[in-house]
Amino acid sequence: MSPINYVYLAALLFTIGAAGVLIRRNAIVVFMCIELMLNAANLTLVAFSRMHGNLDGQIMAFFVMVVAAAEVVVGLAIIVMLYRSRHSASVDDASLMKL
């Protein structure tokens, strides 16, 4: 089966992730959706890497995983902090600043 289909799958995943970010309230879930988008990108990279027959894409995928991990560290720290001060992880509750 041709690798291009993985690209379509990835696009699908990416869109799902994006949609999740837009509709979910819980910060953690939102964050997970973003991770999903990153991984969609990873999948794309790998797929193209295989199509083009060079390793750049796969190497990049590794980098992205590392970065994602780092992001998780920072992100969770921030979200937990938010949760502790507000007893809620809803991003909509964090709307003191507006206009």
Binding site: V30, D92, S95
Partner: protein, 645 residues
């Protein structure tokens, strides 16, 4: 030398104004002295002029180049020819006399120093007007006298009526000045200059249309300054000024400037018959207008003002007749200068004795109390009505003759009008004479408050117990000038008439020619005398025989109209004043609401837009994400679209 003529009184004005209080005691004498000096200078120049032969009498003197701008060359330069000379003598002569008179008249006025400063200022401006050798410089004098008259009419500024009258005079004059300005523009575009000599010599070459335009504009100016219809309305109010001012400025000199202007630019009018016709018409209309107004006024000064208007009407009419009339216009101007000044001074003297009462219905039988005044005034009276042998007779007779001399129906009409005018003049002057000096002494009774006369001096009513005035003759310093002027009004005419001396004298400037009158001179004279008799008789019947009512009777429609200057002010008020007020009011509104509103509106609209856009920033991270997502979508779509097209 010529410059001195202007310079001396100007110096006087400057010194008196800047000198401050320390000149309060001596200032008026200084002013009078300087006026006399300028008269002497004038006389000397006159003498030297007589030395020359007729053609080469005109003198020029250029002081410096005034406004030099590429092709527009205005010089500070003077020209003294026979015409100017005539005026110089009149102005300085009468001027000096009136200075003298004012010394007495203004004796108790705290601001006397300033009064004399203004008088000197006026002399300077008036002399500049008649001595200028180009129209722009003339314009300076023209507005200069306007300023002086503004200051003097409004001299008693604490009286609102005076202030208003002054403002009115200046504004109406300004309209005329605009005309003069435009005339100068036209000359400049036509001839590339506005100095007398070149313009007048080249006048023949310009198209008639141009000349007519220039002529009409000059006429407009003349109307303004000489209180001719339709710009006459200011003269009556101008009587708010002290009486010497009325005598000097609003009778003898300034108001005749219009005649000077028209005579001076005769060459232009000669080339523009249409313009001349209009001039004549204006003259004729004003002549009657003024006379009628003069008949209805009870305020002695206003009556005289009306007469001034009408007399100047004569002059303008004469000037409009062209070469056949110029000389007579000037001649009448001079004689009128004498007797009208005399009359005004007389009126002033009467008021002086009647503690500033101006209503003739409160006079009567004053001849016993102030004989000198009575005699001088009487001589002036005889002169103005054209009593045979007195100066008025000669000068006016000449004009009537010239009017007939115009020829054709025009001639007849004009002749008739002038005769009619003569009759009316006789009527209203007799009226003044009788009401003032003859009949019962109405001033002994307390006045009955009169709603009819709104602008009557409040002084009378306000006093609780009425103390009748004690009419007395004025001091020498006032009577002497009156006497001198009386002499003038008696003999000047004959002097000028003798052997056409005056006409001959002016000829080089105004190139005189004889009109071909359909009626003989004697017939005209006879007609004049008849008119005179009729007028006097009518007046005698009305005011000599039966007593004068202390309150003005309601009178006929015409009378009532005449009392209100033939409704001219009402017209002005309705059309100009209230119309203008509404215009300005509405414009102010427009400026605030529309023009400025547009500006503020734009600002406000941005504010509103801002307020609305602000709401998008609703604080929800997810909606921010939406906008990002949408943005990305649009970005992609747009890029693809770009490639597609």
């Amino acid at each position: 030398m010529i410059g001195l003529l202007v310079g001396v009184p100007l110096l006087g004005a400057a010194v008196l104004l800047l000198g401050g209080r320390r000149l309060d005691r001596s200032g008026h004498w200084l002013a009078t002295l300087l006026a006399a000096v300028s008269f002497v200078i004038g006389a000397v120049l006159f003498a030297s002029m007589l030395g020359e032969d007729a053609e080469s009498r005109a003198m020029h003197s250029k002081l410096f180049s005034w406004v030099p701008v590429e092709g527009f060359q205005a010089d500070m330069a003077f020209q003294l020819d026979q015409l100017s000379m005539t005026f110089v003598l009149l102005i300085t002569g009468v001027g000096t006399l009136i200075h003298l008179y004012s010394v007495g008249y203004m004796e108790h006025d705290p601001k006397r120093r300033r009064f004399f400063a203004y008088l000197n200022l006026f002399l300077a401006a008036m002399l500049l007007l008649v001595l200028a050798d180009n129209f722009l410089l003339l314009y300076v004098g023209w507005e200069g006298v306007g300023l002086a008259s503004y200051l003097l009419i409004g001299f008693w500024q604490h009286k609102p009526s005076a202030a208003t009258a002054a403002k009115k005079a200046f504004l109406v004059n300004r309209v005329g000045d605009a005309g003069l300005a435009i005339a100068i523009f036209l000359m400049f575009t036509t001839f590339g200059t506005f100095a007398f000599a070149p313009v007048l010599s080249a006048a023949g070459e310009a198209s008639e249309g141009k000349l007519t335009a220039i002529g009409l504009m000059l006429l407009l100016a003349a109307c303004g300054k000489s209180a001719q219809v339709p710009l006459q309305s200011w003269l009556g109010d101008a009587m708010e000024g002290p009486t010497p001012v009325s005598a000097l400025i609003h009778a003898a000199t300034m108001v005749t400037a219009g005649v000077y202007l028209i005579t001076r630019s005769g060459a232009i009018f000669n080339g523009a018959p249409d313009a001349q016709l209009v001039v004549v018409i204006v003259g004729a209309v004003t002549l009657l207008f003024g006379a009628i107004v003069g008949c209805a006024k009870d305020d002695i000064k206003k009556a005289l003002a009306g007469s001034t208007m009408s007399q100047i009407g004569y002059m303008i009419l004469a000037a409009g007749l062209g070469p056949i009339g110029y000389a007579f216009a000037i001649m009448h101007l001079v004689t009128h200068g004498f007797f009208k000044a005399g009359l005004f001074l007389g009126a002033g003297s009467v008021m002086h004795g009647m503690n500033d009462e101006v209503d003739m219905r409160r006079y009567g039988g004053l001849r016993k109390h102030m004989p000198v005044t009575f005699v001088t005034f009487g001589l002036g009276y005889l002169a103005i009505i054209g009593f045979p042998g007195l100066s008025g007779f000669f000068s006016k007779d000449q004009i009537i003759e010239a009017a007939f001399g115009k020829g054709g129906t025009e001639g007849w009409i004009l002749g008739a009008v002038t005769l009619l005018g003569a009759a009316i003049t006789a009527y209203y002057m007799t009226r003044v004479m009788l009401m003032t000096f003859f009949g019962e002494e109405r001033w002994r009774k307390a006045p009955t408050p009169s709603p009819a006369e709104p602008d009557v001096e409040p002084a009378a009513e306000t006093r609780g117990a009425y103390a009748p005035p004690h009419p007395h003759e004025s001091p020498k310093i006032m009577t002497i000038p009156m006497i001198v002027l009386a002499f003038g009004s008696v003999f000047a005419g004959g002097l000028f008439k003798a052997g056409e001396s005056f006409v001959g004298w002016l000829e080089p400037v105004t190139q005189f020619e004889h009109g071909h009158s359909p009626v003989s001179a004697t017939a005209v004279t006879a007609a004049t005398i008849v008119a005179l008799v009729l007028g006097v008789g009518a007046a005698y019947l009305q005011y000599g025989r039966k007593p004068v009512p202390a309150l003005a009777p309601r009178g006929s429609l015409l009378t009532r109209a005449a009392r209100r200057d033939l409704l001219q002010d009402d017209f002005n008020h309705v059309v100009l004043v209230s119309g203008g007020t509404h215009l300005t009011r509405s414009l102010v509104y427009v400026d605030n609401k529309v023009v400025d509103g547009a500006v503020n509106g734009t600002a406000a609209s941005f504010g509103g837009l801002s307020g609305r856009l602000r709401r998008l920033q609703n604080g929800f991270a997810r909606s921010y994400a939406v906008s990002m997502f949408g943005g990305a979508a649009v970005l992609i779509a747009a890029t693809l679209l770009m490639r597609a097209v």
